[in-house]
């Protein structure tokens, strides 16, 4: 893939990456290999619940409340455009 890619937009320091964007990728993306130890981890119900609550709280109504802890406080990536009135 030969990163560094061209300079649009400037690559972000990882610390500024939105946590939700990150979890969307590391928990729902990526190659799935059958690890010798992974299956029970992937199936941990609590992980699923936390993940769903984080990524799609609208569907989880009433489950535990990880959001206050999980919602990151840092700003998202810089806006392109900015057409908001």
């Amino acid at each position: 893939m030969s990163v560094p890619a061209p300079q649009f937009p400037p690559p972000l320091p990882q610390a500024e990456t939105s946590l939700v964007d990150l979890l969307d990728r590391v928990l729902a993306g990526g190659v799935v290999l059958h690890g010798e130890l992974v299956l029970s981890i992937a199936d941990v119900p609590l992980v699923r619940i936390d993940l769903r609550a984080l990524i799609a709280p609208a569907t989880v109504g009433g489950t535990a409340d990880p959001l206050p802890l999980l919602v990151p406080t840092e700003a998202g990536p810089p806006a392109v455009g900015g057409g908001r009135p």
């Binding site: 993940l51 609208a58 392109v80 908001r84 009135p85």
Partner: protein, 316 residues
């Protein structure tokens, strides 16, 4: 390697599989357990290496890691550490990130899976080589101004006043609906435009405002796309996005990512052109394929949380 020098048992945590690269780039990286990260290759396979950390079973084994992942701050720390390693490798070689928490008893287990999965891993690397993933999120706002762009009947008094008020409210609602529909059309066009500069576009779940630190009051997330972009088209991709500076829309771009969203088991089911994904409750892995393209999220009646209500209700 199956134990630390002090004889504590260990496991092999795998971050990614990639083409061979200069491992000096790993010197400055610490893994999820804070330890060094090394590569593992299998005899007879000279085009694949796994990126691995030897972690103590006591603190990062099956049960311990499972426990850690249920603790939000620890989940965040591990996710970031995992991604840091993956992005570092991705800067040096075509990289297929593995899903978080893929572990083997030892490096021999890793060699074994490299051999048994070699074909699949090769074809994945072939697809993502020379590409990066970019996040494009679009937020929409129906402004009070747009919502109130409704004809008004002035001067009604007495028994006519109540009727006039109801008419006005109805007209305002209709105007807000039109403004909303207009935004939806624009987002559809933007989505189609992305496909002219990206190799693939996937829709990730839309973000309810409560889960999205990036959204602002009154805004609704209307598109959450992952775009696989060839290195030589990144400039064109950026240029295309800068065209979409429009009232009522805000576009956020993030990246480059190693192509996580295009290396999963469902990676071939690339989304058809549509906006808004299907159901914000579905994880991204299930949004592709079966849904009818188009307007599941946007077409009919407005849903709360989908597209923000006007920030200000017209006063009676």
């Amino acid at each position: 390697m199956s134990s630390l020098p002090d004889d504590r048992p260990t496991a092999s945590y795998v971050y990614a599989v990639c083409r061979p690269f200069d491992t000096a780039t790993l010197d400055a990286v610490a893994g999820i357990g804070g330890g060094p990260v090394h590569t593992v290759a299998a005899d007879g396979l000279d085009d694949l290496v796994a990126v691995v950390e030897t972690v103590p079973v006591e603190t990062f084994g099956e049960e311990a890691l499972q426990q850690r992942l249920t603790d939000p701050p620890e989940l965040e720390r591990i996710a970031r550490a995992h991604n840091d390693v993956v992005q570092t490798v991705g800067a040096s070689a075509a990289t297929a990130p593995l899903r978080l928490a893929t572990m083997y008893h030892d490096d021999d287990g890793v060699r074994n899976v490299l051999r048994t999965e070699a074909d699949r891993l090769r074809s994945t690397l072939e697809e993502v080589a020379g590409h990066t993933e970019w996040s494009v999120k679009v937020y929409g706002t129906v402004s009070a101004e747009a919502a109130s762009r409704a004809p008004r009947r002035a001067g009604a008094t007495g028994s006519g006043a109540g009727r006039a008020y109801l008419d006005r409210r109805r007209n305002e609602r209709a105007a807000a609906e039109r403004a909303r529909a207009e935004l939806l059309r624009t987002v559809s066009e933007l989505d189609a435009a992305l496909r002219t500069v990206a190799d693939q576009v996937r829709h990730l779940p839309l973000r309810p405002p409560s889960a999205d630190a990036g959204s602002k009051p009154g805004e609704a997330n209307m598109l959450n796309a992952a775009c696989l972009v060839a290195d030589e088209r990144v400039d064109a991709f950026g240029a295309e996005l800068t065209r979409w500076t429009l009232p009522g829309l805000r576009v956020e771009v993030g990246g480059p990512w190693v192509p996580y969203s295009f290396t999963g088991p469902d990676r071939r089911e690339t989304d058809q052109p549509e906006t808004g994904g299907s159901d914000p409750g579905q994880p991204s892995a299930t949004t592709a394929g079966s849904e009818a393209p188009g307007t599941a999220g946007f077409g009919g009646a407005p849903e709360p949380g989908r597209l923000g209500e006007p920030s200000r209700e017209a006063a009676p």
